[in-house]
């Protein structure tokens, strides 16, 4: 970590680079949940899917010695858990809030069970991208071009989601399903199928975000290591007003706060560590308040059928 002794020695370049790393897990989880919510589903189980991804990714990476195989396993793990949510809410008509909570409670227990025997183990290292001379550009080089591949993958996912929602026909259908599922159904679209696909995508992204924590950011497995990152990702979707690029902005702002907080801890600020560690949660709450109080704007951007159950009658 950053080992500076006083505030004056905090290096803004190092800080900016660390910010991208700190932001990536919640960015991945948030962009997935954004798609889920755009399809009209509220999956509160992001935390559970993230931690499941963190442990499956870790276990597979250790077993195979390949971090990328671990990430694939995390994607499968997150998506698998999400499919339980999809089955319960889309086919068995279970309450989305309750099912999301169940997913989180189950995921925390399940990951703790799977993760036994992995604490203290080091995962295989994920190499950084090699951008050649780009990495040597002063200031920009260390900030932008010396990261692991997943940082760039997350940016590509954001761009892809943006393009998908805005320009593709499938994205239009997904938005229609989230906006008014009865109308979409009447037009002959398969509401449940679209939603199941979105939920699975959300789970895959959350799983990948979890794996980023356990394989790259920390990198280690500890029980409950997501520590609310999934919930912060949920708040980020509100902050982003369901727009992909704003999710990116929000994630990086948030990453900045986390990084700064850690830097201050390391710099030996006279505030006890526990209070500094509250900062990310408190900041998230403050941001939620600011974003929610703009009433008219919010009603315009929240998907119309968000969280409402769909049952095709007759």
């Amino acid at each position: 970590m950053i080992a500076s002794m006083d505030l004056s020695s905090i290096n803004p370049v190092v800080l900016a680079a660390a910010l991208m790393v700190a932001a990536t897990p919640i960015l991945l989880a948030a962009i997935g949940e954004l798609v889920v919510e755009k399809a009209g589903v509220l999956n509160l189980g992001v935390e559970g899917m993230m931690i499941t991804g963190a442990v499956t990714g870790f276990a597979f990476a250790v077993a195979t010695g390949n971090p990328y195989l671990g990430m694939l396993a995390a994607v499968a793990g997150g998506a698998g858990l999400a499919l339980i949510f999809a089955l319960l809410t889309q086919y068995l008509m279970a309450n989305q809030v309750a099912t999301g909570l169940a997913l989180t409670l189950f995921g925390l227990g399940f990951s703790a069970l799977l993760g036994q025997g992995y604490s203290g183990v080091s995962p295989p290292r994920t190499p950084r991208m090699d951008f050649g001379p780009l990495a040597d550009i002063p200031v920009l080089g260390p900030i932008l071009f010396r990261h692991d591949p997943l940082v760039y993958v997350s940016l590509i996912i954001v761009a892809a989601v943006w393009w998908f929602l805005r320009y593709s026909r499938a994205g239009r259908i997904l938005r229609a399903v989230g906006e008014n599922h009865d109308a979409a159904h009447a037009l002959g679209y398969r509401v449940r199928l679209v939603r199941v696909a979105a939920i699975a995508f959300g789970g895959a992204c959350a799983g990948l975000g979890g794996a980023y924590l356990s394989l790259i950011r920390v990198p280690q497995w500890t029980e409950g290591m997501t520590a609310g990152a999934g919930w912060i990702a949920l708040a980020l979707v509100v902050f982003a007003a369901w727009r992909p690029w704003r999710a990116l902005l929000g994630a990086y702002l948030f990453g900045g706060i986390v990084t700064l907080q850690l830097t201050l801890q390391a710099a030996g600020w006279r505030i006890p560590v526990e209070y500094l560690a509250m900062a990310p949660y408190l900041v998230t709450i403050v941001v939620l308040v600011i974003m929610s109080s703009g009433r008219a704007r919010r009603t315009l951007s929240a998907p119309g059928s968000l969280g409402r159950p769909f049952h095709a009658a007759g």
């Binding site: 409670l105 708040a235 006890p272 526990e274 929610s292």
Partner: protein, 380 residues
Amino acid sequence: MLRLERRPQPSRTWVWAAPVLAVVLTMLAGGVLFAALGKDPVAAIRLIFWDPLFSQQFAAFSRPQLLVKAAPLILIAIGLAIGFRANIWNIGAEGQYIIGALCAAAVALAFFPAGPVDARFLGLEFTMDSAPSRWWLFPLMIAAGAAGGFVWAMIPAILKTRFNTNEILVSLLLVYVAEKLLAAAALGWLRNPEGAGFPGSRNLSRFPEAANLELIPNTGMHWGVVAAIIAVIFGYILLHRHMLGFQVQLAGQAPRAARFAGVAPARLVIFCLGLSGLMAGMAGMFEVTGPARMITIDFNAGYGFVAIIVAFLGRLHPVGIVLAGFLMALTYIGGELAQFTLGLPSAAIQVFQGMLLFFLLALDMLSNYRIRLTAREVTP
């Protein structure tokens, strides 16, 4: 092809049969899980559900534990259930529980007899020579615990009513804040000055006026159990006899109809979050002064989250919650037994509890829908 057909009325049979079936299915799935972990499934299930109550070896210790574990779960779940019925989702009971415990402990420690008195508490000859009996201290601590939980729950409540902020996210995020506060207290301002630098507060059970002791020896009966019983009766009357309870349910089922009927949504949010926070805070107070004895870094044992399962499993109904609370208490106690005797990991019980909620949510469908076999029909 299977089709779900909505029932005109929820089936009364399935409303109560679903949780029973969910428990049975969870036992089966849990058995598979235990077998996969290399444990004898039958022995594990027996150890969890049977032995704590009926085995010669364990029952004497386990039975009183049942009340000890069930009381906080029931107390918290009653408060949550009232909110859930109104579609107000306080999922931060864990945080309110922590803050309640902290407030109560802080009050107790503020009145802790000065000087090196610890040793004297051990002796029977101890008399408080100078100070009169401070009978008011324990009620004051209950009030402090309740107030702590209430205030912590008021944060999401006020943010929701004033700024339309999602109470699910705020109440949950505040759990993490509360955990950090707990750590700060255990390491800092509530740390036992005679604890040789170890984290954690003084032991409150050494302080009779502030301790939540067993009321009847070897039963597990303590003041928290009394509070839980009162909460159950209160919850029942509120939900089934009182206009406020009717408004709670109306707001949950048909918010527009509730506004039409004159229910003020903001007041309901304050009421439901406040009540559940208050109950969770009290649960924390009884725990820290009783079974837990002191504030420690990891004093909270997830009761606030498991109470959510209890509330759903009990159908958000006070009587159901009592039954569900005992069942969940049993899985805790049985889980510990299985941990000691079979080496079953404690996380397996968490998985078990999570599965129970899944099965319950899945089977819930049966009370509102009928499954029909139909010829394939075009329903895109």
